[in-house]
Symmetry: C2
Subunit: 228 residues, 2 copies
Amino acid sequence: MIRTIAFDADDTLWHNETYYREAEALFCEMLAPYHDAEWIRQRLTETEMGNLAHFGYGIKSFTLSMIETAVELSEGRITGHEVQRIIRLGRDMLAHPVEPLSEVQATLEALQRRYELLVITKGDLLDQESKLARSGLGHYFSGLEVVSEKDEAAYRAILARRKIDPAEFLMVGNSVKSDILPVVAMGGQAVYVPYATTWVHEHVADADESAFTTLEHVGLLSAWLEIH
Amino acid sequence: MIRTIAFDADDTLWHNETYYREAEALFCEMLAPYHDAEWIRQRLTETEMGNLAHFGYGIKSFTLSMIETAVELSEGRITGHEVQRIIRLGRDMLAHPVEPLSEVQATLEALQRRYELLVITKGDLLDQESKLARSGLGHYFSGLEVVSEKDEAAYRAILARRKIDPAEFLMVGNSVKSDILPVVAMGGQAVYVPYATTWVHEHVADADESAFTTLEHVGLLSAWLEIH
């Protein structure tokens, strides 16, 4: 008996990874005089991974990683104006319109009458609050939880604070690593809705796919809930 | 009858502004070939204020503002290696040991037996979680709330979620603007404990000082609570 449904935000409720990939393409273009795109992309990903522990998730962290990668790959020859363009790339990402994925609005509209709906996400607090507000979806949710890491302990803490029984909790998201496995591990249910592209950091090599449900798009969620 | 006491984190529980001022001094030194320190400081503050709406509070935001200021003040002549040094300044700030202010530990030790203790702070989520852990003070608190802005609505939301009556709530902090006025406005109590230096953004020109209590240091809090 599910009472509370929590949704991941980026690439579950609205497009996000797309904008990172667009920014990355512009970044590769800018650094084209120094290296080819594939090499730049690899170095940027390495810098991002190395910075996660210090800087955490989100656009500010990504922007700092782009700047650092540009300095390294150009061996310090990157100019001040190019650095400024990178900061502008980051600021443009933060101001980007928030575009809900197809069928998200109709699904939330239908579900809100029968379930308590939450958003549980990583990233920058201010950025995620701002995106929820700009998405026009804010009124469907009774809460937004921004955590620094989506592990089992983080989910347990949220459910305890909100007095939610894990057995009555469903998480919906596009990351097997962050949205699915930790929720299943603590006794909750989870529905995996893949997005077109997945950030390499969120890849899981050998997940047991029988432990959770995969739906092709979020519009199938209402029908799935009917039979569960 | 106070039941819950919430503390601001930076410059209330531990030193923080000091490290920003140290980083700023190193930054001014680095840009000394271009401008004098006072001018650099003013431009940096302006950039920070301009970036608050996009980037929010915290060290990542401050680092991006330093980079942007360096590019502008050097008219693009800043080198990649100097940019790298600025990123390193930011990373050093994030890794800085967290040093509790004097009498904080003894005060929390005494208060935890009689009150529920919370931390309510702005800044980067990951950074604040990490600082609370590194401070060694984490076990005194039943919760950490990181908000993007400390206004009346934010305090109301926290108290509602935690089912705390404003009349039974006391906030302790070093910012009249963020810790004191919004709490008094929603019917809570507030104790102002000034820190040696206050960030210019937190200054309030003409606060009504009769609406709240000012204590010289947090060690006086237990005695104040005895008579209230």
